[in-house]
């Protein structure tokens, strides 16, 4: 009898080991932050891979299975996921993660969101995002806001872990503050550097690290490069002596490379998300990698 109750007690104590909070995120970046903040009380997974265009994720039924088991769904919001996530949530049979319910967290809330349109937008402008630019997690200050929101949400869903989440959050913030000093110092010599990017994915990164984005290889968001616009960009780069053309891993580098060949600028692939290459294991190494790549590409440039 006593043995039995011991076994039961053991089961109870062991329970948290199995009953981890299941966190699913549209992006690896939020999954990584949730990992840091949740520690061993959570199990996380991201839907889009770090080298995948986050606008064009397929609504695969295998994602429905993941969502059906989720306790918490973290999304970028600002309609970044509108092409695939709404029907997946509807089919998840998981009431918790529907927008407006406790298991749904829009990570953009409270973040510094840039380029919110102030006039009416139309699709003549290309793929404009009417809520503002959704690539906001590339500013580490937004990473802090996201981590706080995730910690608060986890404490709400799993009150017994509140202290653990607060502790993990404090550790995350301390590490972030320390890393930010390091990143800012590395980037300081390049303050004011003008760059051209392929797609308009980097305004938050540029704002934080004081870079000036002066043009895009795409004539309009989502519209592939055209000869006339490419010529304009070539002239712009020559006129302003722009050292770098930044592209994401999922864009075709043909046009950027040809521009580079004609202007002497360097094509630099920056990764917008965790997991883009194996070295980018978490939110911190995302900036480590991108900043080192940036500094490396700027060597020898004026």
């Amino acid at each position: 009898m006593k043995k039995h109750s011991m076994a039961l007690a053991a089961l109870f104590l062991a329970a948290p080991l199995w009953a981890k909070v299941q966190v699913v995120s549209s992006l690896q970046d939020f999954a990584s932050i949730a990992d840091s903040v949740g520690g061993d009380r959570v199990e996380t997974s991201g839907l889009a891979r770090g080298y995948q265009d986050p606008h064009f994720v397929d609504a695969k039924p295998s994602f429905i299975l993941k969502l059906s088991r989720a306790d918490l769904l973290i999304v970028a919001g600002l309609e970044l996921e509108i092409g695939y996530l709404p029907p997946l949530i509807d089919q998840s049979r998981n009431d918790k993660i529907h927008p407006g319910n406790a298991g749904y967290l829009d990570a953009s809330i409270g973040c510094d969101i840039l380029q919110r349109p102030t006039t009416q937008v139309t699709r003549a402008m290309g793929d404009v995002h009417p809520y503002g630019n959704p690539h906001y997690w590339t500013d580490p200050d937004n990473g802090r806001v996201i981590a706080r929101a995730i910690a608060a949400k986890l404490a709400e869903l799993d009150p017994s872990g509140k202290a653990a989440y607060e502790k993990n959050l404090a550790a995350f913030e301390a590490r972030l503050a320390e890393k930010e000093k390091e990143w800012n110092a590395k980037m300081a010599p390049y303050a004011g550097t003008k760059i051209v990017t392929f797609h308009d994915s980097w305004p938050n990164f540029a704002k934080h690290f004081k870079l000036a984005i002066v043009g895009h290889v795409e004539p309009k968001p989502g519209i592939p490069p055209t000869p006339s616009h490419t010529l304009e960009i070539i002239n712009l780069i020559k006129a302003q002596n722009i050292p770098l053309i930044v592209i994401e891993p999922y864009f075709d580098s043909k046009t950027p490379k040809s521009i580079a060949a004609q202007t002497g600028a360097t094509v630099l692939t920056l990764y917008p998300s965790v997991g883009g290459v194996p070295e980018i294991k978490d939110y911190f190494s995302l900036f480590d990698y991108d900043i080192n790549a940036f500094v490396g590409a700027m060597k020898g440039k004026k």
């Binding site: 891979r49 039924p61 407006g100 809330i109 809520y131 989502g222």
Partner: protein, 387 residues
């Protein structure tokens, strides 16, 4: 085919902030998520109405469904005495109205306008928060029979419906009907997605079933399996069985048409370069067994199939090919066959130009060579990409 891309757009003159702040899913107003520790000054989500003068009307617009319109223009050249399509037509203007009803359900309406008439193509309520892993739909809907039949005309990879849909499912429009659908996930090992759908409809579907009495009912069952074979490759499989009373029934005798189908789709889309290069192969096999009186030839068994491939050449260009064959449902000895090649260009994700060269050989010896040119365009709320 994932060309639609995340973005939303303003809906005409009312599209100020309040209108915009609802997406395709008509997401409820942003919940003031409890904001963590005190340090960060967090803006409280603003009330919906932004500007003072328009506030009233915008507030009343707030829960309006998201609206989109898809135009489908088709021009046809060549001679075809069997399927005599007009040389130019605005074949369909599909108006979609979609919103969340309440915490338990969402509603979707698809109104299909031809040049002269209008039809509710689909109009249903989906209960998204049922217990026991169930998902229920009630209303008029495209029947979950096979794969192509579940899709709207404008998301097909061709400008036309393949022969087995035309010959065995009642016409180009396929099988749609009014009733109830219940779907449940069936747990499987190895992260295989498996879903069983059971549907009961009024025994009436244009060109397919005809109800004479209230007790005349049509049924459909569908089992779908999906698995990621690798990060870039996945396989979709479906098995369907449907039955309903056909038009040769009399008051005394109910005569059934029984339908079976197997569908598959193999997709390849490398995640890193998937915006520029992808491919898919899909096919369906159908069998129809139609009970008919002896003077109409007795019981007819008809088979049909199609096989179609699509390859993405560049970000905005897709090439495809299709072969198809189908017996006639009411006369299994008559068979139509066809071949087609297709080229599609997407100027943006919201418009599409498609050309098809098609040869169809109809039973009775008629051969038709045709060129189809389709222009499709979407305005309004951004819909989810079909998968």
């Amino acid at each position: 085919m994932t060309i639609w891309k995340p973005i939303a757009l303003s809906l005409g003159v009312f599209a100020a902030t309040a209108q915009i702040s609802r997406g395709q899913e008509a997401t409820p107003p942003p919940q003031p998520t409890p904001v963590p520790t005190a340090t960060a000054p967090e803006p409280t989500p603003a009330p919906p109405a932004p500007a003072a003068p328009a506030a009233q009307s915008q507030a009343s617009n707030y829960f309006n469904p998201s609206i989109s319109v898809i135009g489908n223009f088709l021009a046809v050249a060549g001679k075809n005495s069997v399927e005599n399509l007009p040389n130019a037509s605005l074949r369909e203007s599909e108006v979609a109205l979609q919103a969340i009803v309440d915490p338990y359900a969402r509603a979707d309406f698809f109104l299909s306008f031809s040049e002269t008439s209008v039809e509710v193509e689909e109009g249903f309520l989906t209960f998204t928060s049922l217990p026991a892993g169930l998902l229920a739909k009630v209303g008029k809907m495209r029947v979950a029979f096979g794969k192509i039949n579940t899709l709207h005309l404008h998301v097909l990879p061709w400008p036309d419906a393949p022969l087995p849909i035309v010959n065995l499912l009642g016409g180009e429009e396929g099988w749609k009907s009014t009733g109830v659908s219940i779907a449940r996930l069936i747990p499987m090992p190895a992260d295989i997605f498996s879903e069983l759908t059971a549907q009961v409809f009024r025994g009436e579907a244009e060109g397919l079933f005809q109800a004479r009495k209230r007790s005349d009912i049509a049924y459909n069952g569908h089992y779908r399996l999906f698995r990621d074979l690798s990060e870039a490759t996945n396989l979709d499989l479906g098995f369907s069985y449907g039955a309903g009373p056909n038009a040769t029934s009399s008051d005394e005798t109910r005569r059934w048409t029984k339908l079976e189908a197997i569908d598959f789709m193999l997709r390849w889309k490398p995640l890193r370069t998937g915006n520029y290069r992808s491919a898919s192969l899909r096919g369906e096999l159908f069998r129809s067994r139609r009970d008919q009186p002896e003077d109409l030839g007795g019981k007819q068994t008809a088979r049909g199939w199609y096989l179609s491939g699509e390859y993405q050449l560049a970000k905005r260009w897709f090439a495809g090919a299709r072969i198809e064959s189908s017996d006639h449902a009411d006369d299994g000895s008559k068979r139509d066959t066809g071949q087609a090649v297709i080229l599609t260009f997407w100027p943006s994700e919201f418009s599409q130009v498609r050309g098809e060269l098609r040869r169809r050989r109809y039973a009775g010896g008629v051969t038709a060579n045709e060129a189809l040119l389709q222009l499709q365009f979407a305005i309004g709320a951004h819909g989810a990409h079909p998968f």
